[in-house]
């Protein structure tokens, strides 16, 4: 780690101001950023901790039926408090990392980081969530722009995420054996007007929607509906834990299992 200053604002306005420092960086739960700092792979001058900002924490329902989650809400809180409204999302949150990670890591940090193997991006894209920042609202379809790349500008802070609640949904994660991030994770969400399928862990372009499966499942929401489909291995990630062909195969298997388990 290099030496740095730390600020702990209690309002979004103060956080945004603190982020104006040269070399400032937001600190959520630190579950990604702290290991990065320890390895000396990042050298921010000022860390702006977001975890003391009350208005960025908590889970609630909006008047228009969206599930609203403050960006500094931990995975553990989401697992607990979203369970009644949106079990598919609560289930996803409850399988991120281990209890220590879930008690620290935040939804905003996960979405800002956009790790290609992270879980939340699949839920955000798979539901068409809205990412709300200190300056604007970004549709999930516009937000994710490839591995570790998002629509966020420098200094922009995610404050909240709003999820349209599906009739049925499920996140099926096949874990990378070492990290237990998603080797392939598929979020399936069924709405009155159709089905969305988002895949994380698999593609070199980060989280993506599997449109053929969406069409097939919109017509027939059953694992059988996927029978004739296949995923192209081209552009899939190849590493120690999975070849492109293996990942492409798992996308279909996990999608089928997510549909079967959707509630």
């Amino acid at each position: 780690m290099y030496a740095f200053e730390i600020e702990r604002p209690t309002t979004i306005a103060d956080a945004v101001k603190a982020m104006e420092h040269d070399g400032a960086q937001a600190l959520g739960g630190g579950q990604t950023l702290i290991p990065t700092l320890k390895a000396r792979l990042a050298a921010p001058d000022v860390l702006v901790s977001l975890t003391a900002i009350g208005e960025m924490k908590g889970v609630c329902m909006s008047d228009d039926g969206m599930l609203c989650i403050g960006a500094a809400t931990t995975h553990a809180t989401v697992a607990r408090e979203a369970a009644a409204h949106f079990p598919g999302l609560a289930g996803l949150a409850s399988h991120i990392g281990d209890p220590a990670v879930r008690n620290r890591g935040t939804i905003g940090g996960s979405l800002a980081n956009n790790d290609p193997a992270a879980c939340y991006p699949a839920a955000a894209l798979g539901t068409g969530a809205v990412i709300i920042t200190n300056t604007r609202q970004i549709a999930a379809d516009d937000y994710f722009q490839g591995m570790f790349t998002t629509a966020l500008h420098g200094g922009e802070v995610i404050t909240e995420v709003r999820f349209p609640i599906p009739q049925k949904s499920h996140y099926m994660k096949f874990v990378q054996p070492a990290s237990r991030f998603a080797l392939v994770g598929v979020f399936v969400a069924k709405y009155a007007d159709g089905v969305r399928v988002a895949v994380t862990g698999a593609s070199e372009d980060g989280v993506f929607r599997w449109s053929e499966a969406e069409a097939a499942l919109s017509a027939d929401f059953s694992a059988k509906a996927l029978d004739g489909l296949s995923v192209d291995a081209d552009g899939m990630i190849g590493d120690l834990h999975g070849s492109p062909a293996y990942r492409a195969h798992l996308v279909k298997v996990m999608t089928g299992r997510a549909v079967a388990a959707a509630a």
Binding site: M1, Y2, A3, K38, A39, R40, F174, P177, A178, S179, L240, H241, G242, S243, Y246, H249, L250, V253
Partner: protein, 789 residues
């Protein structure tokens, strides 16, 4: 009836109280006044020529006290290999120097070429980053076969990447070849014994201290054998006289082999402490642990099993390439040879065995003994090829093993690989295993799995290993440059309690609990009044440390001998006190009694008398009650076992789940069943980890791809099943006083082939023509094997 105290009782581990309440004292916990921090600069390339190292900027940075490079150690000795192996042609192995800091060349990613000592860790890290090394990258030698064939060398001065080409037993080669040629059936299997990173929970840490007043040094370090470390530093690396160097290994958070060896960082902190006149501490971070702790295994083997059509074994023949990495670590030449080749007859009466091992230098981290050390490699090869042969011949896997087992009336049995097994009963172990596994029920369980779309397999295995590593006479013949005895001093204090100083280091094994159980029973006193002292060369007799499941069999035997001497002397004192002849005094349950009378004194009264020798026959008996014994056994000990497991394989994803695991072991007599069970559990965890999860993987450039827990899969609790462990019916070792064999490594030795055999069985049950998958059997590998089949 299980005993409730003494030998054979499941006393709870007294050391756990301090470990579990955070009261342990590990090396990094030691805070010394004036301590400074050392940070190493490590190569980011696998192979390269050091053109220049510019330390000038670093030297002038805040807090920097000293900077070292390889040039500072060019004249000091190299860290040697402990065993001299001769090649088949009689030439000695190639032994390039292993320097304290890389000089001239860097030879693996993580190879340290410079070190900074500074007031604080932050200052040391900043300065280390300011050191500018110009390193001309060379192509990396990673693949062993390519390394043997090529003309680029890890060590240019030896002009080859082959350390040795060893044959065991060379005189049996021709007969084995002929037997295989004439055999009615030969099963061949090529396999890889995967490279592992030891991953002790506590990373390595060393603190160098120098006392200018006495010109003496203290090294506090994470070691499994402080005396061996002292010997290596004194006699080979730095020339510090042994009487001027104390090595202390306090609580050590796991070793698994990786902390047997002396490492350059230990020499560096001593040299630096002398130079700056202050204590110097280095603590590895996890990345350094991955890159520089000696790794384990890494064999590429072709094994052939020749047999009759009825399954009678005729010969085993293997060709192995064993990776030793960039430098020879201390046991790296013994592990693939004498700890492996000598076990290649397994539990079997096979008449012909020939083993060829070529050790190969590569631009990877040094490879050395890791829990099991050589015996897992032997067992894996033998038991995998037997399974394949059974399938080819259509013989039941248990029947083929039983057919070839050494029988109980054949001991002592000299195996075709040259060892003399003293005791065992492999059929009895298999009988017990068969009771536990419920083979009839397996058929129904397989059906249940299939109904869920899963495949179920049953894997079986029998193993033998050699441990209690010692006999100096034998290991000397085999090439060891050290003796392998151990030592204990039993000190009875005046008030009747005891301090027992032992050469074996305890870092998870439970010596602090078990050793007092034994001495307590021998002396008829409460084990709670006995404490074990270990890990400090200034306090304990010269011991060879803890590895090779040797602590109880070797050091425990020394402790028994020392305790016997205590009893003999105490009897004399008691006889004097009772005014009787020592021959007429009986000792039982802590009381000395004159035969046929009710005259007696207690052990405590005798102890007090020994230290308050008023009216003492000083011509016959010295005051005090303290005895030392060194023990050097007659042979290795030979634990054996029969293992089975059931796995479920998800054919859609390739994921393997271990449903149940049964380990039946013969460890000889059992001193503390609970601790033995714990040792087996730990070994099984590591063995199942090797079989399914763990793999250190380098790319073609010599970069370690699995250099963190993001990519190196450690076994977690939910990867492991509940175990059935049975070690109730052992056959005692015939040549040590406790009749014990050693249990620390068995689980890691016996489990990998059991798992792989089970997975192959599962895939075969679905009609897949899969005869082998290399470990670790990750979902990817299992899925790929199924898709190719």
């Amino acid at each position: 009836m299980p005993k409730d105290h003494g030998i054979g009782a499941s006393d709870k581990r007294r050391e756990d109280v301090r470990f579990l309440t955070g009261a342990g004292h590990y090396t990094d916990d030691i805070k010394t006044y004036g301590a400074t921090t050392a940070i190493f600069c490590r190569s980011t390339v696998a192979h390269g020529i050091i053109k220049s190292i510019d330390t000038s900027a670093a030297e002038n940075m805040p807090g920097v006290l000293a900077v070292f490079t390889g040039a500072d150690f060019a004249d000091v000795g190299g860290n040697p290999a402990g065993w001299l192996i001769n090649s088949r042609d009689g030439t000695p192995m190639k032994e390039p120097k292993r320097p304290v800091l890389a000089h001239g060349k860097v030879r693996h990613v993580g190879d340290a070429y410079a070190a900074v000592i500074a007031e604080t860790e932050l200052q040391a890290r900043n300065a280390a980053e300011a050191i500018v090394a110009e390193i001309e990258e060379l192509p990396a030698i990673v693949d062993m076969a390519a390394g043997l064939a090529g003309d680029a060398f890890v060590h240019d001065e030896i002009g080859t990447n082959q350390c040795f080409d060893w044959g065991w037993i060379e005189d049996n080669r021709a007969a084995t070849d002929a037997a295989i040629k004439a055999a009615p059936h030969v099963t061949t299997l090529e396999l890889v014994n995967n490279r592992l990173v030891p991953n002790a929970m506590e990373p390595r840490c060393s603190i160098g201290n120098y006392d200018a007043g006495n010109d003496s040094y203290v090294l506090q370090t994470t070691s499994q054998n402080p005396h061996l470390t002292r010997l290596l530093i004194s006699a080979f690396v730095m020339g510090i006289p042994e009487n001027k160097l104390t090595v202390i290994a306090p609580d050590v958070g796991g070793g698994f082999g990786s902390k047997i060896y002396h490492y350059g960082e230990e020499a560096l902190v001593l040299a630096a402490a002398r130079k700056i006149g202050r204590p110097v501490k280095w603590t590895a971070d996890r990345t350094e642990a991955f890159l520089t702790d000696a790794h384990g295994r890494d064999h590429v083997t072709k094994i052939e099993l020749a047999c009759e059509k009825d399954g009678t074994f005729i010969a085993f023949r293997t060709e192995t390439m064993a990776n030793v990495g960039a430098y020879l670590s201390n046991f790296s030449t013994a592990t693939p040879t004498f700890l492996h080749g000598t076990l290649m007859a397994g539990n079997y009466t096979v008449p012909n065995v020939y083993v060829n091992v070529k050790a190969v230098f590569t631009n990877t981290a040094p490879v050395d003994a890791y829990r099991g050390a050589g015996r897992p490699e032997a067992t894996y090869s033998i038991e995998r090829v037997i399974d394949k042969a059974a399938r080819e011949l259509g013989i039941d896997p248990i029947a083929i093993r039983r057919k070839n087992f050494v029988k109980p009336d054949q001991y002592p049995f000299v195996s075709a690989a040259g060892l003399e097994y003293d005791s065992g009963n492999y059929d009895a172990l298999m009988d017990t295993l068969e009771k536990h596994i419920d083979r009839e029920g397996f058929k129904a369980r397989r059906k249940e799995s299939e109904a869920k779309g899963m495949l179920r397999g049953l894997g079986l295995n029998a193993y033998i290993e050699a441990c209690g590593i010692a006999p100096s006479n034998l290991v000397g013949v085999l090439g060891s440059r050290v003796g392998l005895y151990d030592a204990a001093t039993v000190r009875v204090n005046a008030t009747g309690n005891l301090s027992v100083m032992v050469g074996a280091h305890s870092h998870g094994q439970g010596h602090e609990t078990v050793f007092p159980q034994i001495v307590g029973e021998m002396l008829g006193i409460d084990p709670q009044s006995i404490d074990i002292v270990h890990g400090d060369t200034s306090k304990i007799p010269f011991g060879m440390g803890t590895y090779g499941s040797r602590s109880l069999a070797v050091c425990g035997s020394a402790m028994v001998r020392a305790t016997e001497k205590i009893i003999a002397k105490a009897k004399k004192i008691a006889a004097h006190m009772l005014e009787a002849s020592a021959d007429d005094v009986d000792f039982k349950d802590g009381q000395f009694t004159v035969k046929g009378t009710d005259k007696s004194v207690s052990f405590g009264e005798v102890a007090l008398k020994a230290y308050i020798p008023h009216n003492f026959p000083l011509e016959d008996i010295e005051p005090g009650l303290e005895e030392t014994a060194f023990y050097d056994p007659a042979n290795f000990t030979y634990p054996s076992g029969a293992y089975a497991c059931e796995v479920e394989v998800d054919p859609d994803t390739g994921k393997v789940r271990v449903d149940r695991f049964i380990a039946v072991d013969d460890f000889g007599n059992i001193m503390n069943p609970m601790i033995v069970t714990g040792q087996v559990h730990g070994g099984l965890g590591q063995g199942i980890g090797q079989a399914l999860l763990e793999g250190a993987r380098y790319d073609a450039d010599g970069q370690l791809l699995s250099a963190s827990y993001m990519d190196y899969t450690m076994p977690r609790a939910d990867d492991l099943p509940f175990y059935t462990v049975d070690h109730a019916n052992g056959t005692p070792c015939t040549h040590n006083p406790l009749g014990v064999k050693g249990c620390g490594e068995a689980g890691a030795i016996g489990s990998p082939p059991t798992i792989v055999n089970a997975v192959v069985d599962a895939l075969q049950s679905a009609g897949k023509n899969v005869t082998h998958i290399d470990m670790p059997l990750t979902p990817l590998r299992v899925w790929e094997a199924m898709h190719k089949a």
